[in-house]
Symmetry: C2
Subunit: 240 residues, 2 copies
Amino acid sequence: MPNPTAAMLVIGDEILSGRTRDANTHHLAGELTKHGIDLKEVRVVSDDAPAIEAAVKALSDGFDHVFTSGGIGPTHDDITADCIARAFGDHIDIRADARALLEAHYAKTGLELNAARLRMARIPDSATLIDNPVSTAPGFTIRNVHVMAGVPSVFQAMVASILPTLTGGEPLLSQTLRIDRGEGDIAATLTQLAADFPDLTIGCYPFQINGAFGANVVVRGTDGARIDAAVTRLARETAQ
Amino acid sequence: MPNPTAAMLVIGDEILSGRTRDANTHHLAGELTKHGIDLKEVRVVSDDAPAIEAAVKALSDGFDHVFTSGGIGPTHDDITADCIARAFGDHIDIRADARALLEAHYAKTGLELNAARLRMARIPDSATLIDNPVSTAPGFTIRNVHVMAGVPSVFQAMVASILPTLTGGEPLLSQTLRIDRGEGDIAATLTQLAADFPDLTIGCYPFQINGAFGANVVVRGTDGARIDAAVTRLARETAQ
C-alpha cells in the first residue's frame, strides 16, 4: 500500500516579502519522512482570505493530510482559522473548550484574557483541538487539515502532538554517496541505475567546492537491502 | 498602478523529503521586494512531470511572472525543461545557441561534452536564454516563466541576469518596531492602526526571549512618509 500523502500550507506575508525565512517546512518534511507520510507539495500564500481559502480547498482535495502554519494568533492579521472555517462551510466562534484552556493559562500568568487573546479560542464547530504545550493557545484539526501556529517552537510542539495520532506508512530510508566527479560524467550511470531500480528514487545534487565539481547522489526507498544494493553498485561503477 | 505580481515554483524531491533546505525562495523574495515586484505565492513540487506541468500552468495564468528553481541539470531527474515545454505546447530539443555556449565552455575546461551534458542545451523553441555566468549552462524564459537552476550560486546569478530586464513597480519599504509586550496586549492598537492606514500593511510577529514576550511589528508600504507616521503613532501608543 502506498504511503499517505501530505501537503504543507505556509501562511504569511513575512515569508513572501523576504523578511522571514520559513523554518517550519523543513522541520515538517523531516518529521513526515520519518513517519512514513510523503510530503508532495508545499504552498506559501499571503495573509489574504481568498488565497488562503482557495489553497486549503485545493490541497485538502488533493492529499491525505494538509498541515498549515501561521495566522492563528491574537492580532488583526491572524485570519487563518476564519478562512478555513469558511473554506469548509463550517460555523466558527469562541469555543468553550478552547476558552477554558486560555482562562486557566492567563489566570496563572496574571495577563489579561482580553478580546484580542480570546480570538485564539475561535475554533470551527467540527474541529478537534491540537495540544500546545508551549503557549497553550491550541491548534485544531478539521477534516484532513491540521492548523498550527507559525512560531517555530510552537509549530514543532504541535507537530509532535498530532503526528503520533496519524497512521504512517513505511518510513522513507535513504543513503547518500558523495562522488567527486562532475554530474555530467556520472549521468549515464545514474540513468541506467534508475532504470534497474524502479522501486527506488535516485536524486543527484551537484556541488562545487574550491573549483572542483562533485555530486551527492541520494538513493531513497522503503527497502534498506535494495538501497544497499544500489549504492554498492553505484560506488563500484563510479570509482576512478 | 499596482506592482507586477510573481510566483515562485521550486522543483525538487530533496526539499520535500527534508534533506535540503530551500534557500532560493528567501533570496528571490528579497530581490523582488527591492525591485517592486510582489511575490504572492510559492509552491514546491516533486520531480514529477504531471505535478510540474500543472503547477507551471496554474502559476503562469495567475501571476505576471513565474520564477522556477531546480531540475535543469544533466541527470535523469532533471525534467523541468521538457515539462515546461509540454505545459506550453512548445517543441523542445538541443538548441544551437545553447549548444554553442556549452561547447565553448567545455572546450576550455577539458571536460567532455557528452550526451548527458548536452541535455542542458535542451531549450524550447520559443524561449530566450538566461545568462549563467557561474557555470554557463543557461536558464530560459518562455512566456512569463523564468526557468533557473537550483544550485543557489547559479540561481542567484540567473536572478541577477534577468531582474534588470523586468519592469518593476514601486519598491516595498518597511520599518520594524520592536515592542516588549505580549501581542495580545497591543492587538487592539494594531487593529485601529491598520484601519486608519489602509494603504499600509501591518504585520505582527511575536517572539519569546528568556520567558518574556514581545513582538516585532512590521509596517510596509510604498510611501515612506506614511510609514513614518504610522510607526511614530504606534511607538507613542504602545509606550509603557
